[in-house]
Symmetry: C2
């Protein structure tokens, strides 16, 4: 396992960690000034910015873009909406290419409103990924399927385990074309009895595109916005990173923390300092 001491160049900050309280250009400067090697921005941050300008700023500061967040949800109640979702993701992939993103993070979407057809939603996801894969190849940006914690199966992602994501990769991209893989986020996967085996398989299949860290707080108060800082929860982060790196992952370690009541209320530079400290000591 790589030693992260003094190697913030191997670490990345997902901008959600700072709560999206400032303009993206300000956030980029903060992350670079704090010494991190990478950044993962969000699409909604581009609404008041020019993607090419942002790309130039990021490149000038020497930051990698460890992922572009995130896909429009794929499953829809009707075909017109499904097609619109796919088109939205194609547009985002082109922006991801402009940004030089190492992957486009696919949070695939939950059940369509009012639906109970979990298998149907999962089938739509597979169809959608297959359609997006061509665009990903053209753009030169891999799709990173991110399994989300099962508590999001209804409203955010019907993709819930790493094994399920790897099965989809194998089905949609049997030739291992290099543009379909997975994002492993400890928050979503840490509980999985098959995690170690699935990480090994992801490595063998050459699918490891991103690795995200935070922590699971024992007393989680909110299903979405109460993630913990690394070291404050129950995840053995070093063990998971060891597995991921032993499986061949050599990309950056990305911090992604949604924390409405705690970290999003703190001074952004303080948050970055603590992220840097924890990355070097408990990850």
């Amino acid at each position: 396992m790589r030693n992260l001491q003094g190697r913030l160049d191997l670490c990345s900050i997902n901008t959600a960690t700072l709560g999206h309280r400032e303009a993206l250009s300000v956030t980029i400067d903060r992350i670079a000034a704090a010494g991190f090697g990478g950044i993962a921005p969000w699409r909604h941050e581009m609404e008041n910015a020019n993607v090419a300008d942002i790309a130039r700023q990021i490149r000038a500061l020497g930051l990698s873009v460890t992922g572009y967040c995130r896909s429009t949800y794929v499953p829809a109640a009707n075909r017109a909406q499904f097609k619109a979702n796919i088109e939205s993701n194609k547009a985002a992939l082109r922006d991801a290419a402009t940004l030089g993103a190492r992957c486009f993070v696919m949070v695939v979407g939950g059940l369509p409103e009012g639906s109970r057809d979990l298998n149907g939603a999962r089938a739509q996801v597979i169809e959608g990924i297959a359609e997006l894969l061509d665009t990903a190849r053209e753009c030169g940006v891999p799709l990173a399927l991110e399994p989300l914690h099962p508590m999001y199966a209804a409203d955010r992602a019907v993709l819930n385990t790493l094994a399920q994501a790897l099965d989809i990769c194998a089905q949609v991209d049997p030739g291992h074309g290099g543009f379909l893989g997975v994002a492993v986020d400890v928050y979503h996967c840490w509980w999985d009895p098959a995690l170690q085996a699935s990480i090994g398989r992801a490595g063998q299949d050459d699918r490891l595109l991103a690795f995200h860290v935070c922590d699971w707080l024992r007393e989680t108060r909110d299903l979405l916005l109460d993630r913990g800082m690394m070291g404050d929860g129950g995840i053995d982060l070093a063990a998971v990173r060891s597995d991921v790196e032993q499986a061949g992952y050599d990309g950056l370690v990305e911090v992604e923390i949604f924390s409405k009541e705690n970290w999003w209320r703190r001074d952004p530079d303080e948050v970055l300092r603590i992220c840097a400290d924890r990355l070097q000591t408990v990850c």
Copy 2:
């Protein structure tokens, strides 16, 4: 699949559904008067009651006890506490026998306070189950391992999928002695991509001891106490029940709803009426 229309004798109420607001003896009378065939009481309800008296009341009303809730958490920070946890469960098994319970529901426990050793906690669970199995056999009450939703992995149960539970059954009880199986609760398992396969395996292995229903609300506000009434959420309940019964389950369908802000505030008889209606129409 069995038709539940007019068959409340095939249905059971877990007393938690009524919010534990009344004495157990009152709750028992309500459930019997509403026409249900079974009940699943909790250990803490016995604190102000005599187990033999409760057993007599339940039997006189012709109710089955579809499960006795629930085990003391097994994993502990030290051996003395681990042994105390096992002893506590042995005592509960004797009460379960007095009640004539069809199973003792094992919610196995999460990480010991401050621990990040998920594999260690899981090993303690296996050791504990092996030790309790002898007592279960002596008492004539099977242990029903209940995989809990992964969002409880830290604080309530490191047993999180049906496949994991069945692996433990196979390891601890390779001879299929009849006193170790699983409780399938749709709330915990509905998202699992392997659910249908695991239910089939549970049937083949003759491990299906209990089946619990409620629903997953799309906008869940609390990790523990915001379960939905059947039909109000995203789970295809009829599909899961069909799988469970096709796999050989012929026991009762038990309703278990934790709902602090909604169902626990309503009149208990109204809750029972709505449970009865939903069991016969959407399950």
